[in-house]
Symmetry: C2
Subunit: 258 residues, 2 copies
Amino acid sequence: MRTVTAKCPSFWSGADCVLPDCANCLVRRFALRCDFDDAGLAQLRRMSDVITWKKGDTLCEQGMPADKVLIITEGLLKIYRLLTDGRRHVTGFLGPGDMLGVLKAGSEFCCTVEGLTAGRACAYDRDRFLRLITDHPELTLKLLITATDEIEAQHEHTILLGRRLAEERVAAFLLIFSHRWRDIDDVDGVVPLPMTREDIAEYLGLSLESVSRAFSRLKALGYIELPRRGEVVIRNVPALYQLSGFEEVPAHTMALGL
Amino acid sequence: MRTVTAKCPSFWSGADCVLPDCANCLVRRFALRCDFDDAGLAQLRRMSDVITWKKGDTLCEQGMPADKVLIITEGLLKIYRLLTDGRRHVTGFLGPGDMLGVLKAGSEFCCTVEGLTAGRACAYDRDRFLRLITDHPELTLKLLITATDEIEAQHEHTILLGRRLAEERVAAFLLIFSHRWRDIDDVDGVVPLPMTREDIAEYLGLSLESVSRAFSRLKALGYIELPRRGEVVIRNVPALYQLSGFEEVPAHTMALGL
DNA sequence: CGTGATTTTGACGACACTCAAATAAAGTGG
DNA sequence: CCACTTTATTTGAGTGTCGTCAAAATCACG
């Protein structure tokens, strides 16, 4: 059992008030999948606060009352739950274009969210956000579609943890992770891995040693390279697909964090 | 690898046109969580066809074009996916009040759905259903909340399969299953289990033998009784909670099948 | 260059899977 | 209603994967 850092500054209140470039916001391609008209954009912009975080910062904590909705514009987050036996389970990783927040009124965060890198997000008051989307029913529907995609992606993840060997899970992780952020950080095949082996292990339901062994084996097979800490190069995509059991990578794995 | 029955009659077209008792429909308590006004009820009723199925019937099959939405009023269904290696994964069980259907236009069923008992459901044309809910934005929102609850329940299930021992998973299954249908079929503590050990195994990511062994052990411990095939009596709820690692049973496990 | 964190590698044991057989229950036809 | 078949479940024995514990190696950072 490992201790978990728990500093939790008041991101939710303090705002930089930098106007984000909503017109090109990635959220259009991911969680909300929607073109706003100019009026909608203006409405959005007026409502949002920009928050920033640094690597290792905790954005919100399991059990904390949740009254904000975030849309991530930069940086990477891990989102995890503490189990009753003290272990952690990483439910997913969030990046640009993804949403984070509890929509149900009066509820608490069921997860803790922590920065893997520095980053920033647009924050909305939940009630105002709900008013916004109910004013635009087609937006609610897009969000509902995103949620059902998320359910399907979770099914895939459940299968991964319930039925696959360690090596297969790591292969799947590499495909999911590199695929999800391929057009955001595509530096000639080098995929950045800002999370630790332990994070990956807690995401895949393995021990960190098993993850490390799987990485080593995939490297020995020539499927990947590990040039330096925090980076992978994928050399044999078909082999990884074969191992993972994927026909295609689940489309929007974790576009909507809760 | 086991063969899977694949007869798939045209439930989706043929309709009995029995008017259901919408005013008391369980869907109000589950997937839609919503009181319709009389006008809404009438609109609903006009739109719906009633379909029925028998035990073992296949309602829809993985890969089939999906253009209907079902709301289950009677009976129990299992919902599963065929994996690339020929194995099956049961994603969940559906019962009265639950919804089934793909909301995204032009997509296929990602699962096969099969009757564990005979039953019936109200079927809606997807496009008309979508029009209905966008006409009532608060309905879309309720459905979105249901979807996010489903995501949270899937997280719990992922944790179950990734981190728990066989005995713990079976304990969790018994709690989830008996809790979800407690006020529908509550015959003094006897919980009907219309699914086979194999179904349970494929739901929990175990072999059917491991499930059987877990049942035997829970019985030996005095936590449960197995009076006859297809039935359990739960004798020690706190012990099962302890084993499962649940603080509380995930609220709406699988109210929304895809 | 030294300290601490992360990652890798090794040895061993536990849990769950596979294969196999026995038992129990349900369905079928005389 | 009973013998027979079929299906579901239980139980046992052996094997493999992964977790745990431990130590070494690598890397980041001051």
